[in-house]
């Protein structure tokens, strides 16, 4: 598997970013849902810190990922998609990236606003410049919550689209992002086989 993206498939680095992001998001959501309604306790503080660390990691990954993508264009979308589908695909990918950047930022500023600032991995203190501010904290809590719903929605759409490409359109839309070596073009015997 090539490290860099090819004309038909994502490279190992892009795939690593993609699947690592998924793992982090599963972790982040799992922690978030268990902590959010707890009464205040040492356990809750611990979970919040873990959640913040995972969120900060997502942010780091997405920044590296976007930098990598800039120098490493994504392979073209599968053939057979209409102009509208292409635009929707671009839009939803753009929104996914946007949420992945903005959501950790809202969490970070909210943490400082609520006087529980981010100390990444318990080691690196990263206070937000906005400081403690109850009203700001409350507002960002709402924003962070709705962003989480939006993220779930767009990840859901993303998964459905990938499954549609794979099972209905029978193209390489899903296969070219799979983390293990895959034969691309396998379902299209008229296309040349390309091994990643």
């Amino acid at each position: 598997m090539s490290l860099r993206n090819t004309a038909v498939s994502y490279g190992a680095v892009a795939k690593a970013f993609h699947w690592l992001t998924l793992l982090m998001l599963i972790g982040s959501f799992t922690i978030a849902y268990s902590m959010v309604d707890m009464r205040i306790s040492p356990r809750k503080l611990e979970l919040y810190s873990w959640h913040k660390w995972v969120g900060a990691t997502v942010f780091l990954i997405v920044i590296l990922r976007l930098a990598w993508r800039l120098r490493n264009p994504a392979p073209p979308l599968p053939d057979g998609m209409s102009a509208l589908q292409r635009r929707l695909a671009g839009l939803s990918h753009g929104l996914l990236y946007t949420i992945l950047v903005v959501m950790p930022l809202t969490g970070w500023v909210m943490s400082s606003a609520r006087n529980l600032p981010l100390v990444y991995l318990g080691l690196i203190e990263i206070p937000s410049p906005f400081g403690v501010d109850q009203a700001l904290g409350d507002a960002l809590k709402t924003v962070h919550y709705y962003l989480s719903l939006a993220l779930l929605f767009f990840v859901g759409t993303h998964v459905l689209a990938a499954l549609q490409h794979h099972f209905i359109l029978r193209d390489d839309g899903l296969r070219r992002m799979l983390p293990w070596p895959t034969r691309l073009g396998a379902s299209k015997p008229d296309r040349e086989d390309i091994t990643t």
Partner: protein, 205 residues
């Protein structure tokens, strides 16, 4: 914020100052006659703060007590008679996080219903070089009294009529039963709490 400090950090507690003379307390009566000749300093509440800095999961949270009173009799040339007493309203502890502020009033923390005040009374003030002093005293939080030493500095202005007193001391919250039960886990919430004082006082005020 503080003009001077030297120290580490920690969560939740109390106290204060070292300057001068406590009128109240029976302790003081021995010196009372002489102490009255010392200037009284009135605290400018708007410019004064008693700050606490706690740590949870490595992150420092800073708060302060919105209400406190201080009785200060201080003359750098008469340190033996100088005295201070600071009384803090524990229910006025404020961090800006309503969850924490509510929690701090409960019995596992300050138990403000039962122990509405915390206090620091100096027993001995000694000079430690230029504008630097050390106040040894009794710190009482949640009904538990311990010896404490508060190093502080005094910066005079306004022709010697205004004093800015700054100091910092680290206390162990668990010695005072602050944050008991599940909160005793110092892995999550550190035992050490830094107390910083920034007090502006006016002579004769």
């Amino acid at each position: 914020m503080t003009t001077f400090q030297a120290g580490s950090r920690g969560l939740a507690a109390v106290m204060v100052v070292g300057l001068v003379m406590g009128l109240s307390m029976g302790l003081a009566s021995r010196h009372a006659a002489r102490a009255e000749t010392l200037p009284a300093w009135g605290v400018d509440a708007g410019k004064s703060r008693i700050i606490f800095i706690g740590r949870q999961m490595g992150a420092a949270s800073k708060g302060w007590f919105k209400k406190f009173t201080a009785t200060i009799r201080f003359d750098p040339d008469k340190l033996a008679e100088s005295k201070a007493e600071v009384v803090v309203d524990t229910a006025s502890a404020y961090t800006g996080n309503s969850d924490i502020d509510v929690e701090m009033r409960k019995d596992k923390w300050f138990d403000t219903a039962k122990y509405p005040t915390a206090r620091f009374v100096t027993t001995k003030i000694t000079a430690k070089g230029e504008n630097a002093y050390e106040a040894a005293g009794k710190l009482t939080i949640k009904g538990i009294t311990r010896d404490a030493v508060l190093p502080f500095k005094v910066a005079l202005s306004n022709g010697g009529k205004t004093a800015k007193i700054t100091g910092e001391v680290t206390v162990k919250r668990l010695e005072f039963g602050i944050g008991t039960g599940e909160w005793g886990a110092t892995r999550i919430v550190a035992d050490e709490v830094v107390i910083q004082i920034e007090v502006v006082a006016n002579k004769g005020g």
